[in-house]
Subunit: 365 residues, 2 copies
């Protein structure tokens, strides 16, 4: 199995730790000692060889990716000249990997997700492999733990027989559903058979590129030109390839893989995933990821000295953070900035970022 | 008029900004651009010439005092080899100043107080001067603004006639009262004629030294030896003086001026002071000192970006402190430490300091 790690985004929801100069996937957000993209690569070690690992990221971050994943051949760190959403990014990965193996099975992973149980994650990818070999695009269906309204959902269909040792582990997909309202989300959980769509999937590159041709012909034509240029070049560093790539890339439509491909793809399957998955959508997510310490606080980084203070999430470079009589705060300290917020309101970090942007304080973003 | 600024203490109540390496009097706690001891000197400028200003501080801080008050002759920065409380400190200042003028009138000031109305403060000192000349020890009686239980009180007696242009500005002192309980403090305010004892007073050096002889003969004998050594020396830097000083000083009893002298002094008077006095006893005191900004927060230092956050007191070196949905916090950031606390519980800073001391983290104190 091959893998392609998507590492193109610059998340602002984990500001001030996630910055334009170092997006969250290149930071150690959970205090594990490894950055999120390193943890992503670690998670599939043993299942995917470093030599079969690809990274798609923005041009400004290619060096950072190469530095953090020295085991990945640098020609497999694919730099997008500009962000064109997940559709072109995945198409580009397919084009590169097909040079190696025209029917390669690839796991498409995000670089900024946390998985508490990597073994269960690898097991799900392995369960997806036979169906992917058989021509399915197999999404991982994340077992919902509550009625989240911030994710799309996958409604599973019937079990697909003969595609795994345990027939109940692979299902057809009846429908992809948009982010629901609260009531709808609750009904999904009550009814069962619905999963969060985490955007993680496994498929053959030729199957995916065929879907591009069928559903997004304009994008597919652009990818075909890139593909042809790559075939004529020595490698992805070849100037001949780059001339074509840089000419074609900006003309590609910016579209997500969900809207562009998945929702109307022909053979879609799903494998349930119950592995403590978390996309760390805001700082308060650390509460579900970190172990609570003996004082009932959550420390990702830094020395904590809590006095009658509980339920706080702390990420700092400080030797000592003294808390006195405070509860349910998020405290994030970087060199130049400090964020202190009510744990329930951390989605408003985007308003802070928006304000700083409006004030031209780009050095802080 | 002469002045002696007492700058010997190492306050822990404003940790982590007040540190052993730089006690609060040598820090700019209120964000005025001047340290507290500088603000103390500024406050009496025009009333006391720099050449008539003395500072009594601990040996480790003499260089800091000289650096921050370059206008004060270095021989007038008096370094105590060890802390012996306010009694010996004031006695030492008297001994030094009497070399210049045996009947000098001296204002004894603390280096770590804030006064919002310096003109009113100077006026009170000026009102105290004739009574001090006449042989009184004149304490400033701070008009209480609420029933504080953390200060001693001064009960005023009758107006002293003929000692000021306005006869109502100088009163005899009927009694010095220990820190009262809540009910007693409230009765003081209701009854009227009670003042907070801020430990600020004006007197002649010979009057004070006479009180030492009368009430603390052992201490007075030690001071007399220091006095004699100083008289024989060229100046306070003379090694002959230092030999005696270093021999005598550690033998002096450690006692406060309040208990040792003031409570039983013969001629004590008081001048009311209504000048926005504040001894910055804990971080929440900044609320009474700083102007509230348009977001209803109190910023001593650092850039603040508050989102639905009010009533917070912030002292940091950060370009941006983003607050989201938090109220009535104190936030103090230094390089290595961060303090976040509920404004109502800031007296517990001493518990944090105590804990760090018990853990041997003296580098953080």
């Amino acid at each position: 199995m091959y893998a392609a790690i998507l590492a193109g985004g610059v998340g602002t929801r984990l500001w001030p730790r996630s910055r334009q100069s170092q997006p969250k996937q290149f930071s150690d957000i959970v205090g594990s000692g490894r950055t999120m993209i390193q943890a992503t690569a670690d998670r599939i070690a043993g299942l995917v060889a470093p030599n079969d690992l690809y990274v798609v990221t923005g041009l400004p971050y290619a060096a950072l990716a190469a530095e953090q994943l020295p085991e990945v051949p640098t020609t497999q760190i694919i730099a997008e000249p500009s962000g064109r959403n997940t559709g072109p990014a995945i198409g580009l990965a397919c084009v590169h990997i097909r040079q190696r193996n025209p029917q390669a099975v690839v796991a498409f992973l995000h670089s900024d997700h946390v998985v508490l149980d990597p073994a269960a994650f690898r097991a799900a990818l392995q369960q997806a492999e036979p169906a992917a070999q058989a021509g399915y695009i197999v999404t991982l269906g994340i077992e919902p733990t509550f009625a989240h309204t911030g994710y799309g959902y996958i409604k599973r269909g019937i079990p697909l027989e003969g595609l795994s040792q345990d027939s109940s582990t692979v299902y057809s997909v009846e429908q992809f559903l948009e982010k629901p309202d609260r009531t709808t989300a609750e009904s999904f959980l009550e009814e069962g058979g619905y999963y969060w769509n985490g955007g993680i999937f496994v498929c053959r590159v030729d199957v995916m590129l065929e879907e591009f041709s069928r559903q997004l012909p304009e994008l597919a034509a652009g990818l075909a030109r890139i593909d042809a240029a790559l075939a004529r070049s020595r490698d992805a560093a070849d100037p001949i390839f780059h001339a074509t790539f840089n000419e074609v890339w900006p003309t590609l439509p910016s579209i997500s893989i969900d809207h562009g491909i998945m929702e109307h793809a022909q053979n879609v399957a799903t494998v349930p995933l119950d592995a403590g998955w978390n996309d760390v959508g805001s700082w308060d997510a650390l509460e579900a990821i970190l172990e609570q310490d003996e004082s009932r606080n959550f420390v990702a980084k830094g020395g904590l000295l809590p006095l009658e203070s509980h339920g706080n999430i702390v990420y700092t470079d400080k030797e000592v953070v003294a808390l006195i009589g405070v509860e349910n705060l998020v405290v994030v300290d970087t060199g130049d900035t400090l964020l202190i917020g009510d744990k329930q309101q951390m989605q408003k970090v985007k308003d802070v970022v928006e304000y700083l942007r409006s004030q031209g304080r780009s050095e802080l973003l």
